[in-house]
């Protein structure tokens, strides 16, 4: 098959969990990578090496271990900056996950400052967002008296940009949207949306939680008017650990925002009456950061960089195309989202007439196949397509065509198990 990563079997050996068996001895077929990715040995080893040999708190510590730990932590920031092509490494803020990163922006916009959102202002999101890119904006607008608006979706799972000029206006203070949908797989037109939002002076927040794992990103190479102001992603979906997320933000914007969490590390001077704050990135990193996790994430983006994000994307395209073909052979199966594999990400949500997604997932699990069933934290997008929930398969760089064959076969079996023929 064209486009697959070379030496796929060797790559799979990097992931210890793929040796595992489930359901009484069946090999694990992990097709839930849009939920969380598996971890290569090199990421686990980087964390263990830190814990066993270099563990210390950072910045504050004046001793050898402290210096080693600080250097490793800040080197992880450099690696993440390189991964994103960030114009400056100080624009990379470590958070606990993508959700916190989105809340950081939405939360600070509520408070006094040049960017404060208030009555009469509007925030524009889309109907295909993950709950983590909906609820923070609901909280912001409810709490400040601003108005939340959103792009609807077309029947083939694209953003409906027909109303763009009535949605994005001078009242718009923020436009927030996902780069790649975790449910529909849709890849959104970041440059076009950003250009339009910038024309009206809005800031652009892009949720790259599903994009970062599978698309090359080069912020510095984007035209400034098409470059989002904020891009977030989460460590555990890019073969990194849990407990760490990333917010990249344009330095000028981050400088305008008031502090988010207060505490150690984010200060310049503290007096009981009043404190002053450190410059970015530290301004937004209160307390002891996820040190081991940042180091693990550094190893993770290095690993991806070594494979090459373009090669990972091609692999995802090849597997996704193959999967779409296979799924098309199942009677009564409907894919939700775009059908052109080159214009979508690797998450494929579908329903099967007559079997509830939970029941599909259960039968698949009994065959060793891990998929997700439910609303995938995208309930409004499900409602838009008139469904309560769906089954989702999501591949990643370690997925093989034969795993897709096994999925298709198991779906046939599911239909017969529930006596649908």
């Amino acid at each position: 098959m064209k486009g697959l990563l070379p030496e796929l079997e060797v790559i799979r050996k990097d992931f210890p969990i793929l040796e595992r068996t489930v359901s009484g001895g069946l090999p694990l077929i992990y097709l839930d990578s849009a939920n969380t990715s598996q971890k290569p040995q090199v990421v686990i080893d980087a964390m263990v090496d830190h814990l066993e040999h270099h563990n210390a708190n950072i910045a504050r510590a004046m001793h050898t271990l402290g210096a080693e730990s600080t250097e490793a932590f800040e080197a992880a920031r450099d690696k993440v900056a390189a991964f994103l092509g960030a114009p400056s490494r100080d624009e990379v803020i470590f958070t606990k996950n993508a959700s916190e990163a989105l809340n950081l922006i939405a939360g600070t916009l509520a408070w006094k400052g040049p960017r404060q959102v208030g009555e009469g202002d509007e925030v524009v999101i889309t109907e295909m967002e993950h709950h983590s890119n909906i609820v923070p904006w609901q909280l912001l607008t409810e709490r400040t008296g601003a108005t939340l608006r959103w792009f609807g979706l077309t029947d083939d799972g694209q953003l409906d940009l027909a109303d763009i000029d009535t949605l994005v206006t001078e009242r718009t203070k923020v436009v927030a949207f996902t780069w790649v949908s975790n449910m529909l797989g849709t890849i959104n037109p970041v440059a076009e949306l950003t250009r339009r939002a910038h024309e009206v002076g809005a800031i652009v927040v892009v949720d790259a939680s599903q994009a970062a794992p599978q698309l090359p990103i080069d912020l510095a190479a984007m035209a400034p008017e098409e470059r989002p102001d904020v891009v977030v992603f989460t460590g555990h979906k890019v073969v990194g650990p849990t407990g760490i997320g990333v917010l990249w933000g344009r330095a000028g914007l981050l400088g305008e925002l008031p502090p988010f969490l207060g505490g150690g590390e984010m200060i310049e001077t503290v007096r009981m009456e009043r404190s002053t704050y450190a410059p970015i990135p530290h301004k937004f990193e209160a307390g002891t950061p996820p040190i081991t996790e940042a180091i693990g994430l550094g190893a993770a983006v290095d690993y991806l960089g070594h494979l090459g994000l373009a090669a990972v994307r091609d692999h995802e395209h090849a597997i996704t195309a193959y999967a779409l073909d296979g799924l098309a052979t199942i009677p009564g199966l409907r894919v939700l989202g775009p059908l052109d594999p080159t214009r979508r990400g690797g998450a494929i949500s579908f329903e099967i007439d007559g079997v509830h997604p939970h029941d599909v997932a259960q039968v698949l699990d009994s065959r060793g196949i891990a998929v997700r069933a439910g609303h995938h934290c995208a309930r409004p997008a499900h409602a838009r397509f008139g469904v309560q929930s769906s089954t989702r398969m999501s591949s990643y760089l370690y997925t093989t065509p034969s795993e897709i064959d096994a999925l298709v076969e198991a779906l046939e079996y599911t239909r017969s198990y529930f006596k649908l023929d």
Binding site: H356, H358, S366, S389, Y417
Partner: protein, 148 residues
């Protein structure tokens, strides 16, 4: 019997295909709406209590075979029973579900409900089986409050 077959007992699939007491009916004292936030399964459920009896339970549910069948079995079990006895059946079903497969179900109490014994081995599905039971308990408590 495979674990899968233990989960999807014939009784469960029958109730799933032909749910008993489905649909929303009058009269009722309380209506509740419960969801399983993990997967979005939902049930709207009404309870009518009269003279200390669970006179009617009616519902509108969207969800998987386990959650649908469970609503059907639950309605069968509690309708017409004194509230106390129905609550005891609820307790007994709850114990079965939380027993991780170690609890022996009592067929005299749970009737078709014993078919759910296999569900207890699937932690992720226990919530499905309990959705309508929890809604029923909530609605019944509210009904009793309305009356007092």
């Amino acid at each position: 019997m495979s674990e899968l077959d233990a989960l999807y007992q014939e009784i469960i699939l029958d109730h799933y295909k032909n749910p008993h007491h489905a649909g929303l009916r009058d009269p009722f004292e309380a209506e509740v709406h419960h969801v399983n936030p993990t997967c979005g399964d939902e049930v709207t459920l009404r309870v009518h209590v009269a003279d200390g009896l669970v006179s009617d339970v009616s519902y509108d549910a969207v969800g998987c075979s386990i959650s649908q069948a469970s609503a059907s079995v639950m309605a069968d079990l509690v309708i017409g029973k004194p509230v106390d006895e129905a609550m005891a059946i609820h307790e007994s079903f709850l114990t079965l579900m939380q027993g991780k497969g170690q609890v022996e179900p009592d067929e005299d109490v749970l009737e078709d409900g014993i078919a759910f014994a296999g569900v207890a081995k699937f932690p992720a599905r226990v919530k499905c089986a309990l959705l309508s039971w929890m809604a029923w308990k909530d609605a019944t408590a509210q009904s009793l409050e309305t009356q007092s």
